[in-house]
């Protein structure tokens, strides 16, 4: 997890600044909020010679955090200093608590924060934030990250992807492009809907809108005009796409990512994850409008291109993060994978069962189903088939986009369809 080490991105200027060259100019606009970190009895006046010397490390600590990509607002810095004053500060622990409470590092980056704190206040040398290499499935969330993952990483990891992109572009780039545009445009209206708690005004089929009716009555001097109605709004459900980026899916991942990009652009609330041996959230990378740029960014974020698959464990890891599993609740979940789980498929079965219990509709799109002789016979597939709502052909963009656009329409569950086929 050395991802932040080289990051000299400035949250203020939005530019990359060379290390150390920015001292002084990136100081937060400290003169604006009145600083009350001086004790009331202090003989010094504000503005006479700045803040007391003892406060300088606090200020520079905030600056250090900013340099490593923590979003810290000037007002947070001033409350940090106020807090430190309020607490005494009697010890380093006080300053640490004050920093934790006011600068509010996100729990995911807590360890990193501690390392910076130690290095800054205790002088522990160069901060080195090491990710623990362990058995656990690693989860990467691009939520708070900015542009980083230096250029070299992008070249080496995006290589496979970009060559695949070229390969595809020679095929039928134009037609796919049009299809994706159409897909993006239609998606917002094609997703399954649910009834929201909010209401909209309506002229028919609704309940009495007392609030608006009363206003009408008052403005009509007590006469009761025709009653005004409202009814509960319908909102599109969330769309969650999980993309398998393992070696066996190599030919299709580029297509899938393009589709995912169109989905993020088109739908209100879409979330995209990739999984292979790890789980990576790439939604915010795909929010960039320009497709090539978005795909390059996403490509740089995924660490496990064309590796093996641990579908069961990664899906379980997905479900074990409350934030992520909340995406799945009531959502239309589409898994793009061949579901070729090597070895024991118990974990996969559990994960699919849990996912299907959360999801509104759980679909598995496998490129293998493009073959007319395909039948879900592998041990893993036949085990999860009863849990799936759909098992469809994921070999082409056409079938996939058509399927996603038809998600709102009811269809028989996967197991009955595939039984009929056999």
């Amino acid at each position: 997890m050395s991802r932040d080490l080289n990051n000299t991105f400035s949250p203020f200027t939005g530019r990359r600044c060379p290390e150390g060259a920015d001292e002084g100019q990136r100081e937060p606009p400290m003169s604006a909020p009145p600083l009350t970190c001086l004790p009331a009895s202090s003989p010094r006046k504000r503005g006479e010679e700045g803040f007391p010397r003892a406060a300088a490390p606090l200020l520079s600590f905030a600056r250090l955090l900013r340099r490593y990509g923590f979003a810290i607002a000037p007002e947070q810095v001033s409350s940090f200093m106020q807090a430190a004053t309020l607490l005494g500060p009697r010890s380093m622990a006080d300053i640490r608590e004050a920093a934790l409470a006011t600068l509010a590092p996100s729990p995911d980056r807590r360890n990193e924060f501690e390392v910076h704190f130690r290095s800054h206040f205790y002088g522990d040398g160069q901060p080195s934030v090491e990710g623990e290499e362990d058995e656990e499935t690693r989860i990467k969330d691009d939520g708070g990250t900015r542009e980083k993952e230096s250029e070299t990483a992008r070249q080496e990891k995006g290589g496979a992807l970009s060559s695949a992109l070229e390969q595809l572009s020679t095929r039928d780039f134009q037609r796919d492009d049009d299809r994706l545009t159409a897909f993006r445009r239609k998606l917002a209206y094609a997703l399954p809907a649910r009834r929201s708690f909010r209401t909209v005004r309506t002229h028919s089929r609704g309940k009495l809108d007392l609030r608006r009716s009363l206003r009408e009555i008052v403005s009509a001097d007590g006469d009761v005009p025709s009653p005004l109605l409202r009814r509960r709004q319908t909102v599109p459900r969330k769309l969650l796409i999980l993309i398998d980026v393992s070696g066996s899916m190599k030919l299709h991942t580029a297509d899938y990512l393009k589709l995912a990009h169109a989905a993020v652009q088109g739908a209100d609330r879409a979330e995209i994850f990739t999984f292979g041996t790890r789980l990576t959230r790439i939604t915010s990378a795909l929010r960039i409008r320009d497709r090539d740029q978005a795909l390059a960014r996403a490509a740089a974020q995924v660490d496990d291109w064309d590796g093996g698959t641990r579908m069961g464990p990664t899906l379980l890891a997905f479900l074990s993060v409350p934030r992520f599993s909340a995406f799945a609740r009531g959502a239309a979940v589409v898994i793009l994978s061949d579901a070729l789980e090597r070895g024991d498929h118990g974990a996969l079965e559990t994960a699919i069962r849990r996912l299907s219990a959360r999801a509104f509709r759980l679909s598995l799109a496998t490129p293998l189903a493009g073959d007319p002789r395909f039948h879900p016979e592998t041990a893993a597939l036949s085990a999860i088939l009863p849990e799936l709502d759909d098992l469809i052909d994921g070999s082409s963009l056409k079938s996939l986009s058509d399927f996603i656009l038809s998600l709102a329409r009811p269809a028989p569950v996967a197991s009955t369809i595939w039984k009929r086929v056999s």
């Binding site: 622990a93 934790l100 509010a104 939520g143 009363l214 934030r323």
Partner: protein, 293 residues
């Protein structure tokens, strides 16, 4: 409840921790500091943590410590201003119009105004503590509305004008972190992440919260729960579940079940997921025995 001045209660983090303990809530140093800072800096306190670590309980304890009533606003998807701020009692207004006949009547009188939690707190900031529970469940629009409320502590009612709080109310927000909150909201708050307590503290909490549980039982429960939490469960047990487990096992033991057996039988109050149960069942005997040892 006696009314207490917030500043006199919160003289130091230690004093806060002591009084929280008197309110039957054991806070670690870090949480006590965050509460102290929130009260003294006059900022809202944002508590995040996994379900069942005692976020809502912390808010209740703070209200008790200040001798104030707790006003709770439970968030959910689709919550809007009418549920959080105020609402007019339309039925009564209509009736009043009918009733008044030719007389003039102010239908925007106080008696037609239904105060929802935010307005309730605004009207008596010195007597009430506002708890905005599970704010991560609400949607972004509501978060924006709350942001406005938290920065100015005022509500505008078109028919009545602006209502402003006379003093800075004390506000506690909790979140299960099912989604990221807006940065602007985090920035305005004093932040604390509540983790699961260590075994020793958890045993203390169980002793404090459960009815009459022997100290050895509490310690065994705490140790066993720590072990169970380390397993990849769909829903790891929270502190409340651990307390319940200790209670249930004690009751069963008094009813005649011997010790390890009582724990095993009472497992239903600790783990409430069929899959988790079947996952932990083969190991449970060993875990309990190790914890009892």
């Amino acid at each position: 409840m006696p009314k207490v001045n917030a500043e006199t209660v919160a003289t130091s983090p230690e004093a806060v921790a002591q009084q929280l303990a008197a309110a039957r809530y054991l806070a670690d140093d870090s949480l006590a500091t965050a509460i102290f800072l929130a009260i003294r800096l006059g900022k809202p306190l944002l508590l995040e943590g996994a379900p069942g670590v005692g976020k809502t309980e912390a808010a209740k304890a703070i209200a008790e410590l200040l001798g104030r009533d707790l006003v709770r606003l439970q968030c959910y998807e689709g919550i809007d201003a009418a549920h959080a701020l105020y609402e007019w009692n339309y039925q009564r207004q209509l009736l009043a119009i009918r009733h008044a006949g030719e007389h003039e009547i102010d239908i925007y009188d106080d008696r037609f105004l239904i105060a929802r939690p935010l307005l309730q707190v605004l009207r008596a900031p010195e007597q009430r503590v506002l708890l905005v529970d599970e704010i991560d469940r609400s949607d972004h629009e509501f978060e924006a509305l709350l942001l406005e409320f938290l920065s100015d502590f005022q509500i505008s009612i078109p028919e009545r004008g602006t209502i402003r709080a006379e003093a800075q109310p004390i506000v506690i927000l909790t979140s299960n972190r099912t989604r990221e909150l807006a940065e602007a909201l985090r920035r305005r708050c004093v932040y604390h992440w509540i983790g699961y307590p260590d075994a020793r503290r958890e045993a203390e909490i169980i002793m404090l919260r459960a009815g009459d549980v022997a100290e050895a039982t509490a310690r065994a429960v705490a140790t066993a729960v720590q072990t169970i939490r380390a397993r990849p469960l769909a829903k790891p047990p929270g502190i409340a579940e651990a307390v319940e487990w200790a209670n249930a096992a004690t009751i069963l033991e008094k009813g005649g079940s011997p010790w390890p057996e009582a724990f095993r039988r009472a497992i239903g109050v600790l783990i409430k997921d069929e899959e988790d149960l079947s996952y932990i069942a083969p190991e449970l005997g060993r875990i309990v025995e190790e914890a009892l040892a």
